[in-house]
Subunit: 659 residues, 2 copies
Amino acid sequence: SMNPDLASERQTASFSVEKLTAWLDGGAEYTRMRRAVVEAIEGDPVFSREDQYFQSQNERYEAAVKKAVHLHKKMHEMGWTENGPESKYIHRALAGDVAFFLHRIFMRSISMLGSDKQIAKWIPLATQYKIIGSYAQTELGHGTYLQGLETTAVFDIATQEFILNTPKISAMKWWPGDMGRSATHTVVFAQLYVHGKCYGIHPFIVQIRSLQDHSLCPGITAGDIGPKMSFEHSDNGFLMLQNVHIPRENMLNKFCEVQPDGTYVRWGSQKINYFTMTSVRISVISDEVISPVMKACTIAIRYSVVRRQSKLKPGEEEAKILDYQTQQEKLLPQLAAAYAFHFISNYLQGLFDRAYREIQRKNFNMLPELHALSSGFKAIISQCCTSAVEICLRACGGHGYSLLSGLPSLYTKILASCIYEGENTILLLQTSRFLIKCFMAASTGQPVPPSVTYLAAVKPGKCPAKNKLDFLRPDIYTEAYQHMAARLVSSTAAKLQDLIQSGVKKYNAWNQCTVQLAQAAKAHCHYLTVKNFVETVEKMETQAAIQKIMKHLCDLFALHGIFSNAGLFLHDGYISGVQMDMVTASYLDLLPVIRKDAVPLVDAFDFTDKSLNSALGSYDGQVYQRLYEWAQKSPTNKQMSPAYERYLKPLLHNKLSKL
Amino acid sequence: SMNPDLASERQTASFSVEKLTAWLDGGAEYTRMRRAVVEAIEGDPVFSREDQYFQSQNERYEAAVKKAVHLHKKMHEMGWTENGPESKYIHRALAGDVAFFLHRIFMRSISMLGSDKQIAKWIPLATQYKIIGSYAQTELGHGTYLQGLETTAVFDIATQEFILNTPKISAMKWWPGDMGRSATHTVVFAQLYVHGKCYGIHPFIVQIRSLQDHSLCPGITAGDIGPKMSFEHSDNGFLMLQNVHIPRENMLNKFCEVQPDGTYVRWGSQKINYFTMTSVRISVISDEVISPVMKACTIAIRYSVVRRQSKLKPGEEEAKILDYQTQQEKLLPQLAAAYAFHFISNYLQGLFDRAYREIQRKNFNMLPELHALSSGFKAIISQCCTSAVEICLRACGGHGYSLLSGLPSLYTKILASCIYEGENTILLLQTSRFLIKCFMAASTGQPVPPSVTYLAAVKPGKCPAKNKLDFLRPDIYTEAYQHMAARLVSSTAAKLQDLIQSGVKKYNAWNQCTVQLAQAAKAHCHYLTVKNFVETVEKMETQAAIQKIMKHLCDLFALHGIFSNAGLFLHDGYISGVQMDMVTASYLDLLPVIRKDAVPLVDAFDFTDKSLNSALGSYDGQVYQRLYEWAQKSPTNKQMSPAYERYLKPLLHNKLSKL
């Protein structure tokens, strides 16, 4: 049965949830396709995540392998393909709890970096799972800075082989998924040496386990790196190489080759690699970051209208906690952010698709902008969404802290997105390097990419808002963001130049500006997110009811950002203290308005109960019943603990001395 | 052997680490006592936490019970007592990974709420562990708001018994520690009914498990609430009562009694309860919050001088990551905060001790201030320290994400401190209720407690700083904090009054101000923390070298707070934009200064390797070696996974169809 407190929230929706869902999906036909995929996956007991919160790392790994193998069959049965339109819905339905993710990266790297001959040899083997691959780049002592990798591959002309070695412990490969226990092969990144000369980092295909009995190959030491904060399902592994010989043909050689006599030849552009990283970051944003935050909002907001605590009005019954301003102020900005990031993610995908078409015509002009944006957005979105999930968790109090709420595992997993595919600080500094360059170019009248043209027009000024309603005007707040971002970029550029002119070495000057550079990069991305949200809302004119609520969310997102970063807007007086009070008033006024539609707004994300896997967040709101039922299934309740016979009984029966 | 990169950091310390340690301990004699306790605990294999990261919830519980029973013996052997001076060092050495914490709360509640006769009966039974107690207050549907609890206790004159019931599922007791699997008894909070009249919440001693065989008593349903984000060692439990009869004498009756004829009598002051909560919050701050953040700083800072990544200066070797400004700006403010909170925790303890002496003389005057401060500080310190641990974790990149770093378990545990012993938002609103009251009183010239006298003197003004060095003057920044806190309190009080005067109902007006009220409470506590840090540094004049580095940390703490909350200081122009640039410059200038002493500053916290239990943070800096050794002990490496025979082999050998 439906919890009446949750049911009543749905009766007063100001818009059609189904229409909003279809719009979020990009059209009703995609909603239908997504639901069909979800139904097929969730209807299959092998893919059940019911016991997930009770399983050990070993059990999670086994289940993930089982699911991956079953998925291979299922896809065949259903006629789904790796790159088909269903692909992203499959991923969403499985919530990433499946093995062989790195097997796909293994294949992708061969396709990108291998010659046609290599592709013809290896891709069919991998596609048919005659081998299982992984991708071994990161080392124990080396992450982001690829030039620092220490693994070596020495070419031996006599045998026409490469000899791979891990010269010291910090050079051990560390973290690659699917490598700890599953993979038979891996792509190893190593420093190439020919005739004693180092040619830098190159990729090599190395077999690590027997195809017969899965035992480790000669010279290979490999295993699992042990427990992590999440990703228990994945066998992230270590790999040590001791005089491992591989044939010359195993160096991936689309771009370069070591010829039989040891001559090193390099050709073609490597810019495309750059493009791969970009594509991975853009898919991380939508699949690994935005989806979890939408789930967290769904769970926390539904729970907040079921949970009642304390009296708001004396004499009445206890109030729904979502009726408290502080609870609204925790959750509703996160909801607005989920929408904002969904829209900017669509924008990035569009930008990527355009760039891809250009690249196929050998035009690489869009790459720097695309790289800067994908880096910066990956950083700010993963950061904001991680903190959003934490806020949702804490907003559910003690019950949020139970694994059964689903929130802890969303948090521990999303947190990793701040680290992998480029650590966020390093990514922000890449974005700011681009911004400083563009700012310099713009200052001297040179052309710059569209997203940064605003930097050319930095001018002092004042926000024209006269009352709190003016701050609900998108032109007013978008300009405030633009002004703020441009100010941060220009003032940091000025500091950098001052330092260099005063005699500080360039690399030192850069280091001394990095805190502010990172801030400038964030401001730039924040501005673009607001601008894109505004434009998205403007384009919706055919759906008035949805447009109206989206406008409220857009306002909330923008004003929450000003309220929370007030110093950045007040700094040069663009917004005055009096105006900041108007911002605060408008911001707080929006909370009860959006609160009325909060449940329909999360319903529109259209997550099934199985997909949320949360005792707090299910559609019917039967929170307490479900917590109790699920707790009873816990292994901690399966039998009386041996601790009783061993320790408690002797203690209680006062036979301690016999212990 | 010692990692040379870490060793070199210790050679240049500007002060004596040993002296700083002694000073933090409150004197060298306490350092000696602490080390003796730590040695006794860590030398005993039963207390080892070596396997902690590999254990299941069941294994953690068993180990915790084993340790608790062993500790009982050990304390006897060592001559340590429950309330002796060693007590807090024992807790620190065990890192909380031990059972029977709620057993102590059970005893404390009987001592506080029970009559002399009840104390004489129950305390010896509990002390000798003839019974094991728990404390059942929170319900599935009810937390902070005690009046909302639904469990009932109906007095039956005929049998002279109370009959306890859980009328519906939301009334089930939920979360009490030691209750899921260990406790034989518990204190149950229930609504008392006599002759059909409800007298509100009262505490009752209820037996829940047989002393003979530990089976559940008639009418009792109890068990474990299942997996949580941390606290795997603790059997947090649920409890349902169905017509459970207990004798009249089992109602704790220091303050009230139901007489045999059903007459309800109440006497004495309950203010002392209020005082208990205060004492618990103050001990949470030091034991559960500050200690973990000191550990996290130790781990992250040691790792950051061992880890090298990318080149800072072209041509040189890769740089220690602590040499990057962005890494300094992540970690050093957390280090400064750890010191700041240690000092304010001492201040709160002193205030508590004074209040305790007054209470013994029946003077309750200090209670409101103490309550407001303990609530507000518990909230801001748990919040800041939780976020500090997360920052430390992320600053260690991928390795920080491994459980073996020790950081994930510090994080998942400290996060709970934002929720238990009063959810933080609710606590902040209690503090702000006190602040508004005092502000009103002060405005009309009435006397107010010492910590809030500054509210009487709110006046507009400008910060007198003329250059960046002025912002290293404690009077300058302390006044800025004071001004800012007073402004937030007074402006929120004004908003509240305006709303009420405009006809908004009082409870609604309060709700509409809560976001700003919480902000004002934070500002007040932030100001007191800065002020107390300044005063602590001033008092150290006999130890010049330590005073100097503490002054730097104090400056960093204060300026980081202004930098990160710039809007609050810029809002009314107290600090101008130009001055904020000076703040930023002074703040960033401090980073490389403190960086030089960063390792000695964490060494002074004096955590042993066993106590850190971190592959990244040990004293010798052998990070990579230890990660590799520990990973090999993981259960994921114990044998070939059954997943191979079951799923991988048939897949690789292309026998999938037979699956």
